[in-house]
Symmetry: C2
Subunit: 392 residues, 2 copies
């Protein structure tokens, strides 16, 4: 596959992480490859198509590592992502956020322009009715998935909600094409035992399969039965009746997923490289130049068994400094300190020395940056630079 | 002043907010002007120079509204900000984050290239010593401020710390120019009564003035005595001995500042425009297309008397919908609901209708966006589009 983005971004020609301006985002390509392979193998064993969610990586280069044979089916979270990946050759795209009339129209204009098939998500009759006007305005026939709510997480209909059939009928009446149902076990992020995760995956599966059965009983073919979240994708025991699996954060993993029990800390593929700019020995503090602007304000581990502050601190080579976390963050300052109660003391961190900080939430940390400096393991060598897209 | 950034950003030619792709950032220029004027008048009355912090707005166009007569003294939080404003004609810049040897060198290279005077901040002898090498490498003599810690907030030295004099002497020994001291009452964000804010401002003032007196007693001229935070800047009763005042979020204000007691909700100048994409009447939820990617993960009001969730919801014209907040946020979904315990019920919000969401923290919300659509009051008209800079 040869449609990677050109890496021509000005003076960004650092060959070693030592030459990088900090704070900046690193991506370990070895770990990325391992994470990609792990879920690809699971999907194969479970007999489903993997439809990776690109909202975490937002990078054509990462997508090329996921699909070394050429573009495959993907999931996106914005119309801008759909356009970016369509412009890089992807054709089978699921836009997994409920539509407004305006976003549906933009998506169909994109399909007309690029030849991509962007599948739309909805869960109410108003959205279905709006598709008639979208079809008229764009001349395109939308493909539609009905959003299910398997765990009372956010949007979507319960599988046994009588409105499910109303919505399906109105999609057809609007002249759109009903292609299936989609469930996302968002509540699985709050779990932390294998048993609970296996149960959540089975609940997600059975809800989606049941909804498809109901629709089929009333004459809707419903070929697509789509499920997924990073935790349930890694704990599903069987996916009978499911046709495709979605996940996004699995490519990078993060401390939240580690707390859920889906990955080891050594699987985390991104980190922020930061420089020591001061210390306050009397408080046990070391100050670095990565604050929430570089790390994000995400505190997703705050409610887990181990609160990781604004992230776990590693040395410059990526080796975890046990119990050293980013305890506080302001816009461009991070305060490193020892986790309360650990009994350890802060390691020596002289002015100008560097650390890598692991993310609470990979999607949020990565979103604060415009590019990845791609490294491998503990080598300081920068293999390449990959740009990220952003916006809506 | 005529060095505004060219507004040539592709297809972004919307004339009305109705035509904007959501989620997107709005800036009310009338409110911006009022906020700018309010602090400019205070600084004048207090007899100090105002040195606005550009880390909130990160926009040359906002800077032009702050300085209609041409570039004045500014504060920045990254070397990239310093470079951006220097390239737009600003010369008197304070980089108000403690230096590493690498960032000091970049700042001095910027001074050499542009002729700007970028003042550096430090609080330890290792930083001071590093300046000798920076001077050697760049041929530039750094101007230096010593960071004070007036309220045990982050970095800096206490005004009575004996290291203050050591650091000052080492700055001089390194061949750099000691220009003064700088204090930031960061803990004032946690206050919420006028009395406490007045006291915090006086504490910030007296710490900075005392430090300058000590340095002068030992032969350091210390011409600059710099203080500031948005809350203390608005509550200082006198600034005797202080030469300059810094603040940044005052241009936009936000719900955190409203909770502290510095502004009214009607002063908030930025908001995210979002579109309704669904509802869950059984939960009292309305779903919009603004999640944490558009709003930021900032939950700065969580510890205030009134927790505003991920932001306060207004109608499309910017009128607050009382007790409607963004109760939950995922990457591209916001869940609107009534504040717990208010007894109200959710107003009607049909699919496709639009709302404006006020920020917990203006710096964090704005950082999620690449441009401002500039509006005025409740008019849907877009007056212009202003780009933001980002990165380090």
């Amino acid at each position: 596959m040869d449609n990677r983005a050109a890496n021509l971004s000005g003076s960004a020609t650092a060959k070693s992480i030592d030459a990088l301006v900090t704070p900046t985002l690193l991506l370990d390509r070895g770990r990325l490859g391992r994470n990609i392979q792990r879920l690809a193998e699971r999907a194969k064993k479970l007999g489903v198509v993997l439809r990776p969610h690109m909202k975490t990586a937002k990078s054509i280069d990462v997508a090329c590592d996921v699909f070394p044979q050429g573009p495959g089916p993907i999931t996106v979270s914005t119309v801008a992502e759909a356009a970016y990946f369509a412009d890089h050759g992807f054709r089978d795209i699921t836009y997994a956020v409920g539509i407004s009339p305006a976003s549906a129209r933009r998506a169909m204009e994109l399909c007309r322009r690029t030849g991509a098939d962007v599948k739309l998500l909805l869960d109410c009759v108003d959205q279905a009715d709006a598709l008639a006007r979208v079809r008229e305005a764009t001349g395109m026939t939308p493909s539609v998935l009905i959003e299910l709510d398997c765990d009372y997480h956010r949007g979507g209909l319960r599988q046994d909600d009588p409105r499910l059939l109303d919505v399906a009928n109105r999609v057809v009446a609007a002249g759109a094409k009903l292609v299936g149902v989609l469930a996302h076990a968002g509540e699985s992020y709050g779990l932390n035992t294998p048993n609970a995760l296996v149960k959540a995956a089975e609940n997600e599966r059975s809800a989606a399969v049941r909804a498809a059965e109901i629709l089929r009983a009333y004459g809707h073919a419903c070929p697509v039965v789509s499920v997924g979240s990073t935790p349930t994708a890694h704990f599903a025991q069987n996916l009978e009746g499911v046709t495709e699996l979605r996940a996004g954060v699995y490519m990078f993993f993060d401390l939240v997923q580690h707390g859920v029990g889906v990955c080891d800390r050594d699987d985390l593929a991104i980190s922020v490289l930061a420089t020591v700019i001061g210390s306050k020995p009397e408080n046990g503090w070391v100050l670095v130049d990565a604050g929430w602007m570089a790390l994000s304000r995400d505190r997703g581990t705050a409610n887990q068994q181990i609160d990781q502050g604004y992230g776990v601190v590693c040395d410059e080579k990526g080796r975890v400094l046990e119990d050293v976390i980013v305890a506080q963050a302001s816009q461009e300052h991070g305060i490193l300190s020892i986790r309360a109660g650990s009994g350890k003391s802060m390691p020596e961190m002289p002015l100008g020395s560097r650390v890598r900080i692991l993310p609470n939430h990979a999607c949020a940390m990565a979103a604060q940056h415009d590019f990845y400096s791609v490294v491998n393991g503990d080598s300081p060598k920068i293999e390449t630079r990959w740009e990220r897209m952003r916006g809506w």
